[in-house]
């Protein structure tokens, strides 16, 4: 599950025209997800957090489209509202990990020498922790919740972004145009921001999209362990966990629906990132 694993889901074969169509399809699905999250109160027929003790674990009906959970809450509404935390968490992860990782990566590539090796050591140290363990420890220190979980996962994701950016920026920094700009008297910050960064950008975008999918898996995992999103807020990872108690009672719906929603969203973002990096000649390596 770590960002290190080179094998990435590739749902469609690579072929010139097909790739663009596939990117459009997954992109459309991603936009749909965002709309679902933003318009959740308009779409969900009932309050996702208020249950009715008299209608516990009900099968699908006209009133409850997907049935109810062990607290009598409407599963469809909880599923719809769950898309909010599912997207918000990875958004925080991607923002923090990308900005910190990119800054450190460019810094290392530009300065080389001891700065480079210090940053490299730092990344190695973070990599020596399994990312889930690092996240759990961080949540312990910060106290459980969506935002501490998101920050925790960001730290685990920084080295992957940082190494990628460093490798790409290193190639740019050695280009003659950088030398030319420096000779003309432009400062290092200006050259990095205005010239190096835009050239590294396509690599970052592909990585960000993929990280979004992986972050979703990790965050839902933390919520599944009960250390992420807290009750009564609807969250897919949390729903998989609470629904487990109902499975033995013969009601696997809650866990299964949340699981399916999560897998669909994850596949969408990972495949999108994969296709983006594929279109940009041959991937990140």
């Amino acid at each position: 599950m770590s960002a290190l694993v080179p094998a990435r889901p590739r749902l469609l074969r690579r072929s010139g025209g097909g790739t663009t169509t596939a990117i459009r399809c997954f992109g459309a699905f991603a936009v749909l997800l965002v709309l679902l999250a933003v318009c959740a109160p308009l779409i969900a027929p009932q309050d996702p957090n208020v249950g009715d003790v008299l209608s516990v674990l009900q099968p699908p009906s006209s009133q409850h489209w997907l049935g109810t959970d062990a607290s009598g809450r409407d599963l469809f509404s909880r599923l719809v509202f769950g898309s909010r935390t599912a997207l918000l968490g990875p958004l925080v992860v991607v923002l923090v990990a990308t900005s910190v990782g990119t800054t450190l990566g460019v810094l290392a590539a530009w300065n080389r020498g001891w700065v480079d090796s210090l940053i490299g050591r730092l990344f190695d140290l973070v990599f020596s922790f399994p990312s889930m363990l690092l996240a759990l420890l961080f949540v312990t220190v910060m106290s459980p919740g969506l935002f501490s979980a998101a920050l925790a996962v960001s730290i685990a994701f920084v080295p992957a972004v940082g190494r990628l950016v460093r490798a790409t920026a290193l190639r740019e920094v050695n280009e003659p145009y950088v030398q030319a700009l420096r000779t003309q008297g432009f400062g290092p910050v200006a050259v990095c921001l205005r010239h190096v960064l835009p050239n590294v950008w396509p690599v970052i975008v592909a990585q960000v999209t993929m990280s979004f999918g992986y972050a979703m898996v990790e965050l839902a995992g933390i919520s599944f362990l009960g250390l992420g999103v807290q009750d009564p807020t609807a969250d897919w990872g949390k729903m998989i966990n609470t629904g487990q108690g109902s499975i033995v009672r013969g009601f696997p719906q809650e866990s299964l629906y949340a699981g399916i929603a999560l897998v669909l969203a994850v596949v969408c973002f990972i495949s999108l990132g994969d296709l983006l990096s594929e279109r940009r000649d041959g991937g990140p390596r």
Binding site: M1, S128, L136, V141, F224, P252, G259, L262
Partner: protein, 332 residues
């Protein structure tokens, strides 16, 4: 390097001196990383909310006499570095302190949990090796339709998180088919294996998919090489060519991914043990975190990291054994 060679009894052992050097180097590097990591965790847990003394005292929290006594007993009144030193010397003596919540020594608490986790990882590892390798080999030899079918299945398996696989397997095999128990660890070796089957499959599934994909790619890549064409032209039968020429060379990229997979299996136990209610190290860690039992959190995390690093180091060494070209030193 010279010292190592002199210590070796036979000159025939020379090619292995490179391996020994790698082992020594990796172990030293590992110890250093582990030391840094354990110190960082120690400092971080000091910053965590909740005062262990208050938790221990429960209703009597705030009693100055009791607080002073406990502080002295657990060295809480001493500087951070001294406290870390106490933990480290304790670790070397096999004494990891006392759990405030379980009222038991941390080392015996962990020792009771290790067999379940170790068995789970070993079971999962065997499944990954057998399943991943077999599926990858089949995909590399199969026709286009089968290959594409397998490839789509692998993509789905790779993208599905372990906790989702867990609930699907529980629903199908425990609820509807009633083949496997839902919770618990079982008694005796057979009982344990029976209880661990669903968790091990859960743990192994997405790793097997990664393994299968790498195996398929490596075998296909190797098949196109000149030396394979030569072997076929020399009239060797297909099985010999596949076994001695293709698979043997394909082992190298497979070993690379095996390290990542092994480390992933260890990290994955945290989720899997919780999903199936197993009493392993991973579930102990989560229990300790929820109940703010920091002495247990400290030692369990360091144990997991140590296992994680050990697997990576082991694969590095294995690399040298499989392919003499990658041995450092001794080769020239």
């Amino acid at each position: 390097m010279a010292i190592v060679e002199h210590n070796l009894p036979r000159s025939a052992g020379r090619p292995w001196s490179g391996v020994l050097l790698t082992v020594a180097g990796r172990l030293a590097q590992m110890a250093l990383t582990l030391l840094t990591a354990s110190f960082l965790i120690f400092v971080a847990l000091q910053l965590a909310p909740g005062n262990p003394v208050d938790i221990m005292l429960g209703a009597k929290a705030g009693d100055p006499e009791a607080v002073r006594r406990l502080n002295a007993q657990y060295h809480f009144d001493q500087p951070l570095l001294v406290q870390y030193g106490h933990w480290l010397t304790g670790l070397l003596h096999g004494d990891l302190g006392t759990s405030f919540v379980f009222r038991e020594s941390v080392s015996s608490l962990i020792a009771a949990r290790v067999p379940t986790s170790a068995l789970l990882v070993a079971y999962g590892g065997v499944l990954v090796l057998v399943l991943g390798f077999a599926v990858g080999l089949v995909a590399s030899r199969a026709g286009r339709t089968v290959d594409t079918g397998i490839s789509v299945l692998l993509s789905v398996a790779l993208a599905t998180p372990t906790y989702v696989i867990a609930i699907v397997l529980i629903t199908v095999f425990s609820l509807y088919l009633d083949w496997f128990p839902v919770f618990g660890s079982g008694d005796g070796l057979l009982g344990r294996l029976h209880h661990l089957t669903l968790p091990a499959v859960t743990l192994a599934l997405s790793s097997s998919a990664a393994m299968a994909r790498v195996t398929r790619a490596a075998v296909k890549d190797e098949e196109g090489r000149d030396h394979v064409t030569t072997a076929v032209a020399r009239g060797l039968d297909r099985r010999t060519v596949l076994g001695r020429h293709v698979v043997r060379n394909a082992l190298l990229p497979i070993t690379t991914i095996a390290g990542i997979i092994g480390a992933g299996l260890i990290a994955g136990t945290v989720i899997v043990e919780n999903a199936f209610g197993l009493d392993g190290v991973g579930s102990l860690l989560v229990q300790a975190i929820t109940r703010k039992d920091y002495a247990v959190v400290q030692s369990t995390s360091v144990l997991i990291i140590a296992a994680f690093l050990l697997v990576n180091a082991f694969v590095d060494v294995l690399y040298g054994i499989i392919d003499p070209r990658t041995r450092t030193g001794g080769t020239r």
